[in-house]
């Protein structure tokens, strides 16, 4: 039987972490809009985070569309609603599956990468060295990475949506003889701004959450090289958890404005 004080200290740790993350976010906003801007580093991070995640996200999206179609198709045929497949797949991918799956993949790849990179920099005192040399490490390392994830994730989501729909069309074409034009016509006939805009907006928040948690965990890494692994691990776990929380909030807000 664990002692009550363990729960209490756990709760206190949670609040402490939440407070620290909030302060970290506030600091990001303070630094983000204050010159000088680290454009080169931002572009480099965008390349590393966005472009270099494209293949992974594209493959995931393609398989996601393929599998979703294959799994849903028999049930839809059973109900005599085969013709509604494109619209159903389109709405599912654009509204929910595309952003969430892409964000989870990015949390795994980018969140852990940022956490490990910044963590190793912290434990090898490179961040300290930057401070000594007069460079603002927060602005250079944290702000650029959070901006990069925030900006790149929506683009990755759009790519994943497109590739996912393409994968779904392949199944439809092979099994149902649906043309490319008809498939995408039906998809866009049933997608509203209420589907596309909220999912794009929430993708920004997903990117922000991944970057923020990855940077926070890496920036405040301690306990040597073991801490680096822990930072990478917790960055992925916390970021993934935060994604679902953000998703829930996004759905509730969208429900208010668009009456899904």
């Amino acid at each position: 039987m664990p002692n009550k004080s363990i729960y209490f200290s756990g709760l206190m740790n949670y609040f402490e972490e939440t407070g620290k993350v909030t302060l970290f976010a506030i600091r990001f906003f303070k630094e983000a809009f204050k010159p000088p801007y680290e454009w080169k580093e931002l572009i480099r991070q965008c390349y590393l985070i966005g472009y270099q995640s494209l293949v992974l996200v594209a493959i995931t999206g393609f398989i996601m569309g393929l599998v979703l179609d294959l799994q849903t198709r028999p049930t839809m045929i059973e109900f005599g609603a085969e013709s509604y497949m494109p619209s159903m797949i389109g709405i599912s991918i654009v509204r929910e599956i595309g952003p969430v799956i892409t964000a989870l993949i990015c949390a795994g790849k980018i969140g852990s990468g940022i956490g490990a990179e910044l963590g190793s920099m912290r434990v090898t005192e490179q961040i300290d060295a930057m401070e000594v040399s007069g460079t603002n490490p927060f602005k250079f390392l944290v702000v650029t990475r959070i901006w990069a994830t925030t900006l790149m994730l929506p683009i990755l989501v759009i790519m994943a949506d497109a590739v996912g729909l393409f994968g779904s069309w392949i199944v439809e074409n092979l099994k149902g003889d649906v043309t490319f034009a008809l498939f995408f016509n039906q998809v866009f006939n049933n997608i509203e701004f209420g589907d596309l805009i909220p999912s794009t907006i929430k993708s920004f928040f997903f990117g922000f959450a991944i970057g923020l948690i990855g940077c926070y965990k890496g920036y405040y890494t301690s306990k040597g090289t073991a801490g680096v692994g822990a930072a990478a691990n917790t960055a992925v776990v916390v970021a993934s958890l935060l994604l679902f929380v953000f998703d829930l909030i996004a759905v509730l807000i969208t429900d208010i404005f668009y009456e899904i």
Partner: protein, 344 residues
């Protein structure tokens, strides 16, 4: 440095492709909602939206031409549906077009369907309100289907009973199916009917021939049918007969008139007598109404009867009296003589 530029270019391509995809998506959705092209608004008034939402498609003759822009209350039972339509179809939708709420397939989205009017109307203008008609409520449809199903169930139950009876050999139908003798009889009946029909055909042919003969041939019947002089003669004959009857009947009618007048007079007199009787005046009324008088009269008649009976006895006694005997014998002889004479 070259590597950095290469990375930057790749990033640029990545961002551009993403931006293009996003723009295309926005354009596709916006285009469907006619956000970018020329558009115009029309409205319709409905009683039930059946779940219609803003953004649902508007179709004209089955083609998507716009979308629902707004649904608002006009009053407690009427809704106003504002629609944005593509400018290209403006000339084809006339003012007498009719809007209705329907579904895209059996389980699809709710849509507004515009059906063309007579085709002679003027093209619709921006802001016009077109007529609408209420579709059948699916619930009503399901209710009527439910009733139909119940009826079908009852019908099938009855049918089952009938087939069971047929299988058990009850009734005429089962005999028709199972009894070979009856089947033979039916076959014979049919054969007889066939013969009868043949005879009927022959008869009708003969009848036709006869009618043709009558209508076209000679003889008394066609003459009677076709000759107008006979008709005129018949008419004059009937007219003469009428006048004859009237002339002959005149004295009879006069006598009848006199007789009826006499009867009327007699009836009036009888009426007066009866009224007098009813009023209780005179001895006749006393005799009719007074029971004591009636009793006295009865006694008088009884006494008279008795008197006459005794008188007969006296007369009989006189016959046997020697004084009158001769007279009666003489009378007897005279009577016999008369009888002989009458016989001869």
């Amino acid at each position: 440095m070259a590597q950095k530029i290469k990375h930057t270019i790749r990033l640029g391509i990545f961002v551009t492709v993403g931006a293009i995809l996003f723009t295309l998506s926005v354009y596709s959705i916006g285009n469907r909602q006619n956000l970018f092209g020329k558009r115009y608004r029309i409205s319709t008034l409905i009683n039930n939206a059946y779940g219609l939402q803003v953004g649902n498609n508007v179709r004209y003759t089955g083609i998507t031409v716009g979308s629902v822009e707004r649904i608002s209350f006009r009053n407690d039972s009427t809704l106003k549906v504002d629609m944005i339509l593509d400018d290209e179809v403006k000339d084809y939708i006339k003012k007498d077009a009719i809007a209705s709420i329907s579904t895209d397939g059996l389980v699809g989205n709710v849509i507004v369907n515009i059906t063309p009017g007579s085709g002679n109307g003027r093209p619709i203008n921006n802001g016009d309100i077109i007529e609408s008609y209420s579709r059948t409520d699916p619930n009503d449809l399901l209710n009527s289907l439910g009733n139909t199903n119940e009826n079908i169930a009852l019908l099938s139950l009855n049918l089952l009973e009938i087939t069971e009876k047929i299988n058990d050999g009850e009734g005429t139908v089962s005999r028709l199916i199972g009894d070979a003798q009856m089947a033979n009889e039916v076959a014979k009946s049919l054969s007889n009917m066939q013969t009868v029909t043949k005879h009927l055909i022959t008869m009708s042919e003969q009848l036709n021939y006869s009618i043709k003969q009558i209508s076209e041939g000679n003889g008394l019947l066609p003459y009677l049918l076709h000759d107008n002089t006979i008709q005129h003669q018949m008419e004059s004959f009937i007219s003469n007969l009428d006048s004859l009857i009237i002339e002959e009947n005149k004295p009879v009618m006069a006598n009848l008139k006199t007789a009826s007048e006499d009867v009327t007079v007699a009836t009036n007199e009888l009426k007066i007598v009866l009224e007098t009787l009813n009023k209780g005046e005179g001895s006749a009324t006393t005799i009719l109404r007074d029971t004591a008088v009636a009793q006295d009269l009865k006694d008088v008649f009884r006494n008279l009867n008795e008197g006459t009976a005794r008188f007969n006895e006296n007369m009989e006694a006189l016959k046997h009296n020697f004084l009158f005997k001769k007279y009666f014998k003489k009378q007897e002889k005279e009577r016999k003589k008369q009888e002989k004479k009458s016989k001869s």
